[in-house]
């Protein structure tokens, strides 16, 4: 599951499971705030088998930003 499309699909499922719905804009939509963003980051590190501290605060703003970060961390930095 290294393509951006795969990662994005999986992300949408995880976010939906976590918050009841998924939107491209996670923060601006009000779906996620900084209190809950850390829980999401930890879950994504587990789900995508990423090393600790893989996400920046600004990565949490959208599905696209998360997709790019995860793709890069999994050795596919060009995925977009």
């Amino acid at each position: 599951m290294n393509t951006a499309a795969d990662i994005r699909s999986r992300l949408l499922v995880i976010v939906s499971e976590q918050y009841g719905r998924a939107e491209e804009e996670l923060i601006a939509s009000g779906l996620v705030d900084s209190l809950h963003a850390i829980a999401l980051a930890l879950k994504l590190e587990r789900e995508f088998d990423l090393p600790p501290n893989s996400f920046l605060l600004t990565d949490m703003r959208s599905i696209t930003a998360l997709t790019l970060r995860i793709a890069a961390a999994r050795g596919n930095p060009g995925a977009s």
């Binding site: 923060i27 601006a28 939509s29 009000g30 209190l35 809950h36 996400f55 605060l57 600004t58 949490m60």
Partner: protein, 373 residues
Amino acid sequence: MAGIRSIGWWLPDERRSVAQLAMRMQVAPEAFAKIGLLSVAVPGDGDHPSTMGARATHAALNAAGLDIDDLDLLIFAGVTKDWPAPWVAAFGVLHELGATRANGIDVSNRCAGIVDALWLAKVLVESRTHRVVAVCCADRFDHVFSPCVGQASFERVTDAVYAAGAATAIVTADAANRIAAFSSHTNPDLSIHHCMTPIAGGSRRPLDEAAVRDGLHFWHAQMSMRDVDYIAKYSADADRYNYPRLFHRAGIDGVDFVACSPLYVEPQMAVLEELRVADAVQLFTIPRLGHIGPADLLLILGIGVANGFNVGRRIVFSTRTPPYSNALAIVSESQHGIAAAGEGIDLSLWPAPRAAHVNRPEAPFEQPLGGPP
């Protein structure tokens, strides 16, 4: 002994509602729900830390029955300033006030500066270095965040909470209360010292055309999610460290009124409950006014006093910042004797609670993520 004789404030009249903020930043109003934000104070073109600070200091001196010529020292503890270093904001405030003899110094420690400055004022008064000391906090934050409207990002939502206004406390030896104890706790991991600061504008990255083009002179979070998690845990640990020490040093076994100003109330309330001080009377100003930096704590106590809250004999200020947190105990034998007055706040928005201890404004939205803000 030295204590707080009066608190004065000045806030701009204009408020920006959550709906207006959401439209301006192209985010959903629900993005502000967890903070419980209703509106923020918006500065006018002529409102700056020095001008707002002078108005708040004037109000505090008036409330104390003092004149500008009575003032020996003004400690400026705000976060933002009219001009960059080496400009000293205290002298800007004093100039606006028409002061001719008072000394001035700036204390810079983010939002924790108010507690450090009050403790410094107490020490200076008790050592008879100065008789009347004003601790002035004044800020406007609009120029430190990227003005790019419509570029929604993680930082944009919390950036919007930062507002404008000023509050000043007058510290004297004849106050009816005494600033009794202080405790502070530095983050053991200071690698986060640079978070929420500009990237350019200092010696490590001078401000040049490229830096301005890339917006590096604005505040940037510069944090990983582990940093965010670590800072949250540190902040809770700091309260666990500071409160017991404060009680021990002040010789008190509880607190009647707590002034703290978290962006998100729930995590701090959880720690206060753990420390068994959550029953103390509280009120929060961020939902109605936005975050006005270190002035928040003076506004909270000032509004509480002016509105007849039962603030009791044991008042605690506590702050949390990423690198450093502190707390201060203000104790009185009977009445606290603090006079409070100012302009720009509708006090009726914080009615004194009759039964409930905690005075929080009603949440503006259905809470999609759980409990009340």
